[in-house]
């Protein structure tokens, strides 16, 4: 199987991640509850992971909160900053983790920047949208449908200038592009552990520039006589038993990314995307969406008129190529790009994909089109 659905989750993990998860399952008890050796091991593992994430994303360790996934992290962040009916500015490429949460809050949603792969347009759109003084801005760093790398540094600068809190969705950028809470000055950054950080599913991170409002209430192993959730982080946002085997795997994943190097990862993905661009261009029946190199990540979508996109993906799966199709939980992105009516087929790469795999996948795409 050639796995090209890394934007959903990375299937191929470094060996150290599998080993770390198994080791943790065999030796680690619950975090922050007891004082015996297995509990101490859990505490040490969690602390090492928090510290590794803190160094990676440039913030103090206690401001790294473990979550189940990016959606969980975004829910905490959005429900901290947004009250029912508040005006919120988002980009034209947000995931339903953002849209549905804002919809549930009955927020007044203002979409800024719908032109794909056009950073100048995006910046200008945010500049004028923020003149309306929203309560918050939520912006994805990289579109999970098209791989458009939004100008998040410029957007964050606009937010800082106007004193508007920013929530960054780093679902597709954490582990691929530099993400620094310090440099962005964001209120919150939400990231998955299980995509380009190569942790297991069931892991995520909320990086806190501000103090979150608890989404879950429960035991934290601290200040137990208080009936309110602790004021201090990370406990305030970590009620209940944490996924320590997941955290152990995430630690191993972060160490892998550090060892490999972000610039090397980006170079590898860029090369794969260039091969993809060149090969897909040879198939006239498909319409791929590509941006200039600096605005394009390792996530690529295309449309074609031969088959429903779900059937297309199914045919590819039968030939051993794993992709995703449909709306990718991002109807907003499709609305911006004009593909809402039929969706797209999406390929997304990781460091474990090779040029040969990309070439073979493109051969299969051509075969499905022509058969």
């Amino acid at each position: 199987m050639i796995y090209l659905d890394n934007a959903a989750t990375t299937l191929h993990k470094p060996e150290s991640v599998y080993e770390a998860v198994e080791q943790a399952m065999r030796t680690c008890a619950s975090l922050g509850r007891s004082g015996h050796d297995p509990a101490r091991k859990a505490a040490e593992t969690a602390f090492l992971c928090r510290s590794a994430a803190a160094d990676f994303f440039e913030l103090p360790a206690e401001r790294v909160v473990f979550t189940l996934n990016t959606t969980h992290a975004l829910n905490i962040a959005i429900k901290t900053l947004v009250r029912p009916g508040d005006r919120v500015v988002i980009s034209g490429f947000e995931h339903n983790a953002v849209l549905r949460t804002l919809y549930a809050l009955n927020a007044e949603i203002c979409v800024a920047g719908k032109r794909l792969f056009d950073p100048e347009d995006t910046i200008q759109a945010f500049e004028s949208a923020l003149a309306g003084e929203p309560s918050a801005v939520v912006c994805t760093h990289i579109s999970n449908v098209f791989g458009y790398v939004l100008p998040i540094e410029e957007i964050s600068a606009i937010c800082r200038r106007r004193h508007i809190p920013l929530i960054v969705d780093a679902a597709q950028s954490a582990g691929v592009r530099p993400v620094s809470l310090k440099d962005l000055g964001a209120a919150f950054v939400a990231a998955p552990g299980h995509k380009s950080l190569f942790g297991p599913q069931g892991t995520g991170l909320l990086l806190c520039g501000e103090k979150p409002i608890p989404l879950l209430h429960g035991g934290t192993g601290s200040s137990s006589r208080d009936l309110e959730m602790p004021e201090f982080l990370p406990d305030r946002a970590e009620a209940g038993t944490q996924n320590i085997p997941g955290v152990a795997g995430l630690l191993a994943g972060i160490r892998f990314v550090n060892a490999y190097g972000l610039s090397e990862i980006r170079k590898h993905e860029k090369h794969l995307v260039e091969v993809l661009r060149e090969r897909l261009a040879r198939i006239p029946e498909i319409t791929p969406f590509f941006g200039a190199s600096e605005t394009q990540s390792g996530v690529v979508s295309f449309t074609q008129n031969r088959l429903d996109c779900e059937f297309f993906a199914q045919r590819l799966s039968e030939t051993g190529i794993a992709v995703r199709s449909g709306l990718h939980c991002s109807p907003q992105a499709h609305a911006s790009a004009g593909t809402l009516d039929r969706g797209t087929v999406r390929l997304s790469v990781s460091v474990f994909n090779t040029v040969e795999e990309i070439e073979e996948a493109c051969d299969h795409i051509r075969h499905v089109i022509r058969s």
Partner: protein, 84 residues
Amino acid sequence: MFACYYTFRSLTAAQQAAMLLRRFGIAASVVRTPEFAATKGCGYAIKVADADEASTGFIFHREGVSYMRVIHIRQDEREVGSAF
């Protein structure tokens, strides 16, 4: 023979402080705060040897580490004194 327990409000804070002390060569272990000393119930502390109390206090002061209180506990695990 005593041990000094510096209590912290969170496990993470205790872990950060222990890591700091180890960098200065002070043996520090993260332990559960004795229940009698956990004013809000359930907490974590750093245990250091009595002989390291002065150095620990100095390092914490210099590095801006906030702890809740210091407890001196005898070998038989009875408290002999505490300070905030």
